[in-house]
Amino acid sequence: MSHETTLNQDEHHADHPTGLARWLFTTNHKEIGTLYLVFSLVMFLLGGAMAMVIRAELFVPGLQMVNPEFFNQMTTMHALVMIFGAVMPAFVGLANWMVPLMIGAPDMALPRMNNWSFWILPFAFTILLLPLVLGLFGIGSGGPASGWTLYPPLSLQGGTNIAFVIFAIHLMGVSSIMGAINIIVTILNMRAPGMTLLRMPLFVWTWLITGFLLIAVMPVLAGAVTMLLTDRFFDTSFFNAAGGGDPVMYQHIFWFFGHPEVYIMILPAFGIVSEILPTFSRKPLFGYTSMVYATASIAFLSFIVWAHHMFTVGMPLGGSLFFMYATMVIAVPTGVKVFNWVSTMWRGSMTFETPMLFSLGFIVLFTIGGFSGLMLAIVPADFQYHDTYFVVAHFHYVLVTGAVFAIMAGVYYWLPKWTGYMYNEKLGKIHFWTSTISVNVLFFPQHYLGLAGMPRRIPDYAVQFAEFNMISSIGGFAFGLAQLIFVYIVWQAARGGERATGQVWEGARGLEWTVPSPAPLHTFDTPPKVDDSVTAHADRLV
């Protein structure tokens, strides 16, 4: 690098805006990462508030708090907000912050597009939430109420709010696709000298694969909702049987997006846990290469299992068998991962700081979600479980104790690197234990409710389901309150406290730990030295 260039860069560094302009026009990956994470937290609290409404209504049988139409709006919006507003942006935020640091890049490859990717999101969610908010003031027909899957013909029989949802989904898709392209291009083009693909941290690997998943399936969702839009407003008949269309085709297209989407929300979680376990076990990650192949296998398999979400629409026996067995095969690479995580900890010098606790919680509880997924994959059993609370319990174990717990683990793990201050460890542990106990009180009884036949997405239920629903709601309120501890911990760590060192954690390895805490706005002005000694899986070849 020439001296002249260095001077230019320094001039840029000195001229950093403050206030709103800093956040509005930033092209810095760390600031954009922070924006994503803050946005995700706000959406997590908003989606959580909707969940509280749902659990309050279901506390006892009968209709007491909200009317059924509003209840349906809550279930629909809770899912859309949590999936597209909380979980996905949280992972993109973590990727923005950590991927350049982990691969030794000065920033993302396309920083201006990075800014745009984020700032589309607040507009998308304003549009998504607008019908619901206006409905609260008696304007319009309220928010969408057909479930987040927007199955026709139901989704086309409501008000014009479907147009808002479709436009918002398009915007979210554009944001996700641009984010994914940026992450892929950064990983493929911006790695520091010596950072070969098989030296990359697992979090980077999982995000590279997730990026390709996003590029493959977000346009599929966009195509499906575009067709919904034209069916609703332009008299086409893509999904209208009377006009020669087929509503089942929507389900096929939707789940061709929907199932890989599940892995979009869980593969980066695998990456986070694979970073944390070696640190707090003080051992290299066991089976690094097999972890990479297992992640790629899961991504591939996610494209050939979509119809397990719709066994009950009816399909040829051969189709049912194919989708059943293909789904079960996913247990193999997932099993490889769980085996490797356990082996990483085996005979390690383990300590149990909050990130490690959340990672351990992830392994145990996500595996429960995986097992209930296997049960759902069995075609005749699925005919009984389909659209019951068993499914609700299953995917909440995967997404809350899976994806959300991993995000929590990642935030606690990297928070000192972001803020320069250690978080309150005692409060972190209280947050973990209250969350873990309450989340099981919340979701475990829902397995029994489903097995007993309680359908999902209903505001009222038979009295035989009363006890488990009350227990579940109590768990829900406790889990909601526990997250306020998390908000306080993050707020406290952002304001000050015990200074964090660059290394932060004794067993941490990787380029991100070689820079000071907080990480300076511009990192790696000189090339870092990358060899096996700085990677978390250093002695994998031994």
Partner: protein
């Protein structure tokens, strides 16, 4: 002001020539991926058109 400009986003140790090549590669990759996205989008809508025809 950080602008994500050519100079600011220079990868480590790159000469001007290497940096330009890296930028070209990055933009080319992004365009190819964007093209794939468009093809998938149009392809699935075409599937809908053919199904309803």
């Amino acid at each position: 002001m950080p602008t994500g400009s050519f100079e600011e986003n220079r990868a480590l140790g790159d000469s001007n020539e290497q940096h330009r090549a890296r930028r070209r590669r990055a933009i080319r990759t992004a365009l190819v991926l964007g093209g794939v996205v468009l093809l998938i989008y149009i392809g699935f809508i075409m599937k809908g058109v053919l199904n309803a025809a």
